[in-house]
């Protein structure tokens, strides 16, 4: 019998026979990624299906942020899951499965971009139409584009740390695992990214008054730091 076809332990078979409802109920309980990975390593492909369901949206968002093309992002995510599946035996659990597959996705996306000769848009060459209604600076949509471009122009590691923190809401521990760097380095990359971004925004006359725009409800703004 091959590695992918291990028998279930006897006590599980007996349990299935006696109380099928119990097994069904157990299957519906949310299993952690750690348990699902172990089951995949024991040959249970269905457990990998659960991992795909759990992470496919986050991975597609991540890929989209890097390549800005839905079809290409889908290919990247599909390829990333394939790589994760074929290498699952080598996954030792030193990082979380989520960090691991995020890392695979980022590397896959970068390789695809190298192949496609991704071109940066030089913000200096982009002309932004100014609405006659705008009294000063530019309108909100233009602010958003300018801000997006400033993020894109950050150094790669800083941009990645910033994106993972702000868009994916990952902890610095997870960011460090994904970027394969110490915790403090992940934090430093993020810190430098945010401060550099602030500097670039404040230096840009087109973004004058950016901080006066009410883009979101500020009532949830809280100065409470986590313990």
């Amino acid at each position: 019998m091959g590695r992918w076809q291990k028998k279930l332990p006897d006590h599980e078979n007996k349990l299935t026979g006696l109380v099928p409802g119990l097994v069904l109920a157990r299957e519906k309980v949310m299993k952690s990624d750690h348990i699902l990975v172990e089951e995949v390593q024991q040959g249970q492909v269905a457990s990998f299906s659960a991992l795909v369901s759990r992470h496919q949206r986050a991975l597609l968002r991540l890929a989209m942020r890097i390549v800005r093309d839905l079809e290409l992002a889908e290919d990247i995510v599909q390829e990333s899951f394939m790589k994760a599946y074929t290498k699952i035996d080598r996954f030792e659990g030193r990082s979380t499965f989520k960090s691991w597959i995020f890392q695979i996705t980022i590397n896959t996306a970068k390789n695809k971009l190298r192949g496609k000769r991704y071109e940066h848009v030089d913000i200096g060459k982009v002309s932004i139409p100014v609405s006659a209604k705008a009294e000063s600076g530019v309108e909100q949509a233009d602010y958003q584009k300018l801000l997006r471009d400033k993020v894109e122009n950050l150094p790669e590691k800083q941009r990645l740390a910033l994106s993972l923190r702000i868009f994916e809401d990952l902890s610095f521990k997870e960011i460090a695992e994904i970027m394969e760097c110490p915790y403090d380095t992940a934090k430093a990359n993020y810190r430098h990214a945010l401060l550099k971004l602030r500097h670039n925004v404040e230096e840009d006359q087109r973004l004058k008054g950016w901080n006066e725009i009410e883009w979101k409800d500020q009532s949830s703004f809280c100065l409470e730091a986590e313990a």
């Binding site: 958003q144 401060l195 602030r198 100065l223």
Partner: protein, 103 residues
């Protein structure tokens, strides 16, 4: 001195750590006190927080929302995975047969 050291005040790093919850309880108390008494420093922290929120709002991705899309995407991924699983099992099987034949 590095570019960062000349461009940013040392306190800027503390502000970022503060809004990210990366300060000790003692440091947090000190910062809370500072912000209570200094509207300038409070403005700096608020602007950093606002910048974070602006960055997040500036890049809302236009991803499909409907369940059908995600089910279909999931199926596409699992089809490839299951195919690869069958190939791997066949390779394992023929590998085992080959080893037996050679004995």
């Amino acid at each position: 001195m590095s570019w960062y050291q000349t461009t940013f005040k040392a306190s800027d790093s503390w502000y970022v750590d503060y809004i990210e919850g990366e300060v000790s309880l003692d440091q947090k108390s000190d910062m809370d006190l500072l912000l209570m008494h200094s509207s300038t420093e409070k403005k700096v922290v608020e602007n950093l927080q606002k910048l974070k929120e602006s960055v997040k709002s500036s890049d809302e991705l236009d991803l499909p929302e409907d369940d059908q899309y995600w089910q279909s995407f999931h199926k596409k991924i699992m089809t490839t995975v299951e195919e690869s699983s069958k190939v791997k099992w066949r390779d394992e099987k023929s590998d085992t047969k080959g080893r037996r034949a050679r004995r």
